[in-house]
Amino acid sequence: MSRAEAVRARVLPFVALLVLCSTAAAGPITSNTALPVHDGELIFRQQAIWLRSTGDPTPMSRRLDALVLPTVLLYGVDSRLMVMGVLPFMYKRIELTTPAGRVARHTTGFGDLTTVARYTALAIDKPGETLRIAPFAGLKLPTGAQNEADALGRYPQPFQLGSGSWDPLGGAVLTWQTLRWELDVSGAYQLRTEANDFRAGDEARGDASFQWRLIPWGRLGPGVPSYLFGVLETAVVWDGKDKVSGTENPDSGGFTWYVTPGLQWISERSIVEAAVEIPVVRQTNGFALKNDFIAVLGFRQSF
């Protein structure tokens, strides 16, 4: 695999982890929550995620942009079990300098569908307070296109919209919420399997999200007022090295620590939110590109 292809290898896994974390119940913006979804409830969530990676030390001076639009549908089977599906629409573009000059390659379309089930194993409810723990498990299905190409030929497997692999994932989330604030802590792991002679590295991540009610600042008053939450999230993400034809790619995988400030407006049936993930530690392997930022806009509607 060339250096440029190695860079691309990082795109798909990162998009996948963003999708994995796009649960729809109220709660964090970039990670998971254990808050309840009522029996028979349907929640629609749409996000727009923009990722930019640069910092190429080689003469290729690569620059990567990815716009991901994950659509999430979530259904409460009962008060403890919820299931959801996440289908991302993606636009990925990479620019690099070649002997023939600056070139750009891009691909657009639907990516792989991810399904997740979450079960509330523990719920301690008190007046004005709840503490919940919920394990979750899921599977990413190979529904995205795997043979996209342009005038330069077929895209390398990591740059395809779909990975072609069946990738299980699992984790658990703890949520502690009061009328004033909410804390969510979660851990997740996704196993990546081989497809098309390529295997992306496994991924592990830990997330914490703290949300503080800014408006109304004091007492809530009667009824169900809308909230404006100030949000501060953090995530540590580890990606294993990819393998091509069974050989490890030294320019893939690594460790990144993100800090994410954001705002979230919550009403009885809708949520509007925005956040920017800022990498504060970027220890990627070899010449892999480093993420500059990830901007997230989101909307949720309960039915």
Binding site: K126, P127, T130, S267
Partner: protein
């Protein structure tokens, strides 16, 4: 003149034998609760443990509205309190209320019907 005609019509239509001279027309519009008051309603106070965010409170409101005869459902997030009214003979049982709270993803704290604490 027109006001008298309307008041007369409403009084007749509603079968009321009231002296309407000083009564605003608006007071004659029957709300569901006033209608039920005539046949007897129960007032439910449902204390919901764990209900702490607006997005989650919607589930409680929806589930209580689906209870038999439940009307005028109100949710107060700060107090963790939901209230509604229902006909005495056709209202939900305490068990149905408890199940509705559970289906919404929460835990029933205390249930009062007409001010009397009952077991859910």
């Amino acid at each position: 003149m027109m006001g008298k005609v309307i008041r007369s019509f409403l009084a007749g239509a509603l079968g009321l034998s009231l002296s309407l001279g000083a009564i605003p027309i608006g007071t004659l519009v029957l709300t569901p609760s006033t209608a039920l008051a005539q046949e007897g309603v129960s007032h439910y106070e449902v204390h919901v443990n764990g209900m702490v965010c607006p997005f989650c409170a919607y589930g409680i409101e929806k589930k209580l509205k689906a209870l038999p005869g439940a009307i005028d459902v109100k949710v107060n997030l700060e107090g963790g309190l939901a209230t509604f009214e229902a006909p005495k003979a056709k209202g939900p049982t305490p068990e149905q209320v408890r199940q509705a709270v559970k289906n919404a993803g929460f835990t029933l704290g205390e249930l009062k019907i007409d001010g009397q604490k009952v077991e859910g």
